[in-house]
């Protein structure tokens, strides 16, 4: 790990997505053959509210160049209000990450099950953005 030059490396991105929306959107993007970069490893959660901010911290500290989270649009959570709670947690986490310049490496989206195209485009933009940021500051470090 760790020797790649900024802008010229394949970022590793860890994504946490809700089963009922974004995970299905990723599926839809796949079945409808929308192209997007293969940098993301997606981990399925049953709801936004299952996103423990520790997951994001752990991924970042283990050297993920980017981390994203994506759930159902507010008001459309399968369990009614999971994403309202998640939004508060994410806001707190983001505020903490900002203190160390890590904010840009964490993205959060709302992508519904029918938004396969949005998913593919989001993955594309994100991959480009993380490429621009360069490798994670934690890569290769003895932590």
């Amino acid at each position: 790990m760790g020797e790649e030059i900024k802008g010229d490396f394949e970022p590793k991105i860890v994504g946490f997505t809700c089963n009922w929306c974004t995970y299905a959107a990723a599926d839809l993007a796949g079945t409808s053959r929308k192209k997007y970069p293969p940098n993301s490893r997606i981990i399925r959660l049953m709801c936004s509210a299952r996103l423990d901010p520790m997951f994001v911290l752990k991924a970042l500290l283990n050297g993920a160049d980017g981390v994203f989270f994506s759930g159902c649009h507010p008001g459309e959570c399968h369990y009614i209000k999971g994403n309202f709670y998640a939004r508060r947690r994410i806001a707190a986490l983001r505020t903490i990450l900002q203190q160390f310049g890590l904010d840009d490496r964490f993205k959060s989206y709302w992508i519904s099950a029918s938004e396969g195209e949005k998913f593919a485009n989001t993955m594309k933009t994100q991959s480009e953005e993380v490429k621009k940021l360069g490798p994670s500051p934690f890569r290769g470090k003895i932590l």
Binding site: P53, L57, G63, R87, A91, Q99, F100, S108, P137, F138
Partner: protein, 354 residues
Amino acid sequence: MKGAELNSEDLEGALKGLLGKGVVDCLVMPHRAGKNVSYMLVKDADKIESPASAIFAPSFSVNAANLIKGWTIKEKVGILAKPCEIRAAIELIKLKQMEKESVLLITVDCAGAYTNQVYAEHYADIGDEVDSAKIKELEGKGITIRESCAICENKLAAVGDIIIAKGAGGNVVVAGLTDMGVDALSALELSLEDKDLERAAEKEKIAAEAKAKLDALPQMGSVEALEEFLQDCIVCKNCRDMCPVCYCKECFFELPLGKPTGGDLLNLAELRGAIGLPPGQLFYHMTRVYHVSTTCVGCGACEDACPKDIPLTRFYPVITKKVQDIFEYVPGKDVEEPLPFTAYEEEELEDKLR
């Protein structure tokens, strides 16, 4: 507000009365221990001697809320402590770590506190109590209050069931803020009258001074700065143990995933080539700061507890304040206000999602 002005003798009588008249079954409060003060748990009212010399003493030992956290007793506990400690107790009530009805919270005015060590060493200079002018004067001699106190906006007693505010000429004003507090004072047979402690201007001045101190603290800003800040941390977790609002019975960092040993560590080392020991410095603090992000009362007990002298006030209270600001939440201000993570508004915070 219903209250009464008391001299130090009457104050002693009133505190003794809390026990003597059965308002509380026991009382946690500071007592003089030579040049220092520490907490005691009192059952016998006669053990309360010249409380005025101890309750305002600008010395911080532990956060008193941490001392009574998680007690499962049916007796009623009175707790007399500084604002940050009572605010922590109020957060613990909201976190269901104690029952609101089972505690009588008594807050004293605070001007800022020294560490126990500094206080004992300079007791001759500091004395039994200080005000902001005295703190400035001592600062000139190199005797400084704790950094968490320098940036503390909530020094005036304003929360809990009863407040004990400093009055004129060595007197105090005791006032009830809640029904429970007023009932307690009535049981003491104090002649209560309407007390309006006009302290808005003082409060503003304290807040402005605290903010100026906070703004003057160095900002971390980068991962490198964070790593440097924490490089001496031995992950002893004293900062967690002394933190009043870190309350999990089973902390993640005591479980195998959070505290890997042996083969698990070898696997991690294999994965990354090498890992730091003891493991999890950054993960522990980043997680803990998130966990206390809305409830940290900025008491600085974590910094006091650190054997490696890491200035944790520059991490915990400084960062958590930023989180609390986005929710416009002041921990311990109002026992009825929901914890930010247990509430939401349908339309909010979209600017934090990107």
